[in-house]
Symmetry: C2
Subunit: 229 residues, 2 copies
DNA sequence: TTGACGAGGTGTACATCGTACACCTAGGGT
DNA sequence: ACCCTAGGTGTACGATGTACACCTCGTCAA
């Protein structure tokens, strides 16, 4: 009864469909059934192209990361290696820009456990920039760990994810009382008057942390730092 | 047929049971049914004490964090405030030690979206240490963001979670080829010969990143840094 | 003493999810 | 003329979270 000829599915098209679905309706809407329906196919058909749902999710982040990891034109036009800080910065901001288009990707990346090709490619490119900048393999290793999830273009969400508490939460826990947290209150009131009405400026927090880290690493590199015995 | 008198459930006892279950069999084993069975009760009974599963998870991380956030004796014996770096360091290492007892907690914390009382208490304590150390409210704010998930005593997992790939993964994605990632290879071989046989020394990575960050923040504080207009 | 009430535990039932398994079907190579 | 296989189908199962009606006490006011 499928009157319209449908181009055959492929792993990539299935994953692309999942990404589109997640973009449109959120990651929770991505069930095998919903995705199959969207692709005009029966749920089990998907399993001919992805191993299981984990594999699908892996594929989704892989495909998103490809967007800034595949094209060498992104930032890798072999700049002077001594500009490694600028190069890293540029690449991470590109990552951030891409991830901003797929709000679900942040949480998805954090929960992935496999390192897929595009992911590794990005990490390798970043590692390469640091090494080319003259950092020792040793220091580069620690640098990657220190950057942590910042290498994906985001910082961890410290405070409440804005807009992530839609439905009336029905917790039985006591409601937090602002007065009980004086230190926090002091910094939020300061932040509020510095940026009225808004919550944290995530973009600024990201570059602040990134630059702080890169500066600190540069200082270590200049000092010829190396691991303690 | 419940011959043995069972002490009545409470929110805390339910949550404690869930933590014990997670410690014993992993977080995935924590289903409402399994937890109810463990507590000798029917699944729906739990809903008299927790709002829903989200609330249960929230309660679990809250209760774990209480372990290092409640007792003021932990590190807060009013040391000289100029030792704020030491104080922060001590507190975060205490957090790390506690979290090490509950391997599931890392991922659980990352996926929580509500900030519960114990969580806020910890963040408030930390914020207080920074403020007491003389950092401006402004800088303190950015400092908290920069520390990110490090405030819970862990760094994000950069590479594969060791032992988290138990069952034969049945991905359809191409297997990554080490030769394709030369930069990564260079640092892992360096790390391997520096620490034969093992993977990353997470403890060292944690304190490296922490100290790097604290040093950098101290430098900014000493320079009287403040937000750009 | 009685009666209502509410807190806490029960039982049944449902929707949704991932996915195992057997099957069908069309195209291509021998 | 044959079979093989890649790709899509259909049915079915077990697990999960949780809605809803119910029951069963202990407490306390009348």
């Amino acid at each position: 009864m499928t009157c319209r000829a449908r181009p055959p599915l492929t792993r990539d098209s299935v994953i692309a469909g999942a990404i589109a679905l997640a973009d449109a309706e959120g990651i929770d809407a991505v069930s095998m059934r919903a995705l199959a329906a969207r692709l005009g196919v029966v749920p089990m058909a998907l399993y001919k192209h992805v191993g299981d749902k984990e594999d699908l999710l892996d594929g989704m982040v892989d495909q998103v990361i490809d967007a800034f990891s595949a094209d060498p034109e992104a930032s890798e036009t072999a700049p002077r290696p001594e500009d490694w800080r600028a190069a890293v910065r540029t690449r991470l901001l590109a990552a951030r820009a891409t991830l901003a288009l797929h709000p679900w990707a942040r949480r998805a990346i954090e929960t992935r456990v496999r390192r897929t090709p595009a992911v590794l490619r990005h990490m390798d490119a970043l590692t390469g920039l640091l090494l080319a900048g003259g950092l020792s393999a040793d220091l580069t290793h620690h640098a990657m760990h220190t950057l942590g999830n910042r290498i994906w273009g985001f910082s961890p969400e410290l405070f409440n994810d804005p807009g992530a508490l839609p439905t009336s939460t029905r917790s039985s826990a006591p409601e937090p009382e602002p007065a009980d947290y004086p230190a926090i209150m002091r910094v939020v009131t300061d932040a509020q008057q510095r940026r009225p009405g808004g919550s944290c400026d995530e973009d600024y927090e990201f570059v602040f942390a990134l630059d702080l880290t890169l500066d600190a690493l540069a200082r270590l590199a200049a000092d010829g730092w190396s691991s303690p015995a």
